[in-house]
Symmetry: C2
Subunit: 214 residues, 2 copies
């Protein structure tokens, strides 16, 4: 674990992306890949890829590239790909429904196990194989699930966060515009659609020729 | 423009977040704000805020904090807040509908003007005040719109990207899992729901006590 702690966060964010592409190459029977091929496929510049891979102890050989199997083994171990992380989703509106219909288990180690909503019309439905329960049942049903996707209206965001944290949730993917408050041992990743759009426009104007590295 | 070019990209990504919070403070009649207050409200650590603000030439005074009006003026100018950027959305599924219902114009300088879908059932609808047209009409209707949100099925992503680029689009917010190819003068920001979820789980395991800075 000590080695992995040294991976910079910007690099760590690209791990799932690398994993997915290499997994597909492996399925196609490919044994090696160059940083240039990787770069073209996943839209990250090849200098960044080579720097990232050097953190994993993967040194490409000139004229050969990287060994797909070695890299895949490393990523599988690092991303704990043999361990499936159960996830809950709270708020089955349009955004929540999009998540439920998204095929997460393909090439992935997370699985939405259940969803909650306050709307009685939605309770009892099964969307993308995932059952929707009434939010009143949250505390009874959560069990040991530690990851939640928050797609509730902004007015419900903090209240629902508090309930999730009380259930033992330690990671929240927050898609509401609310900046929610959590104890320091709970990790929140925040994705705000309006801010993503505004950020794109800003970057278009001010960094017109840069390549996006995400 | 030269000064703005020097703002690091990580700082630039936080600009819309700062702007929104300061705009709300201003509406409440507040004249000053400390980095600690800002930090608590937007969940970015105060050292990062102070470093970011120093790029804007905003130096907080001890015991006073930052001048809200000065900062707001700076952000409005930097983010071109007096100029409204029209946006198009392609793909009115659950995710696309969530975008259309999202109130972007509040505190924002982007506006979705029109949406496109291939499904005749959706064509003619108006969602969140935005008309949905048939995708066959894309080339006729785009006009000078240069920003697009891509929420089509993955199988349509590259084809639709090529059409958007041919219409003059230079910025795409890509919500499909596809890594789309574009000419070098087109900026793509990519948000992949599966990767965001996997990234959260990875960070929970490997960086348990860090504060998220996004």
């Amino acid at each position: 674990m000590t080695d992995q702690q040294k991976i910079p966060q910007a690099t760590a964010k690209r791990l799932p992306l690398y994993y997915r592409f290499l997994h597909n190459l492996h399925l196609q029977g490919k044994n090696r890949v160059s940083s240039k091929q990787l770069s073209e496929a996943i839209k990250v510049d090849s200098a960044t890829i080579r720097r990232d891979f050097s953190y994993f102890g993967a040194l490409g050989k000139k004229g050969y590239g990287y060994n797909v199997e070695y890299l895949l083994g490393f990523f599988r171990k690092t991303l704990d790909h043999d361990e499936n992380t159960p996830v809950t989703l709270v708020g089955v509106g349009n955004l929540g429904t999009a998540f439920l219909n998204y095929n997460f288990t393909k090439n992935n180690n997370t699985k939405i196990e259940m969803a909650f909503d306050a709307d009685k019309e939605k309770v009892g439905e099964v969307i993308g194989d995932i059952p929707v329960y009434h939010v009143d049942e949250l505390e009874d049903r959560m069990g040991s699930i530690s990851v939640a996707i928050l797609t509730v209206p902004v007015s419900e965001a903090q209240k629902m966060t508090d309930r999730l944290v009380a259930c033992g949730v330690t990671g929240i993917l927050n898609f509401t515009p609310a900046r929610i408050s959590v104890p320091s041992d709970v990790r929140v990743h925040h994705i705000d659609l309006a801010i993503e759009l505004q950020s794109l426009v800003y970057f278009m104007k001010h960094y017109p020729m840069d390549q996006d590295e995400e």
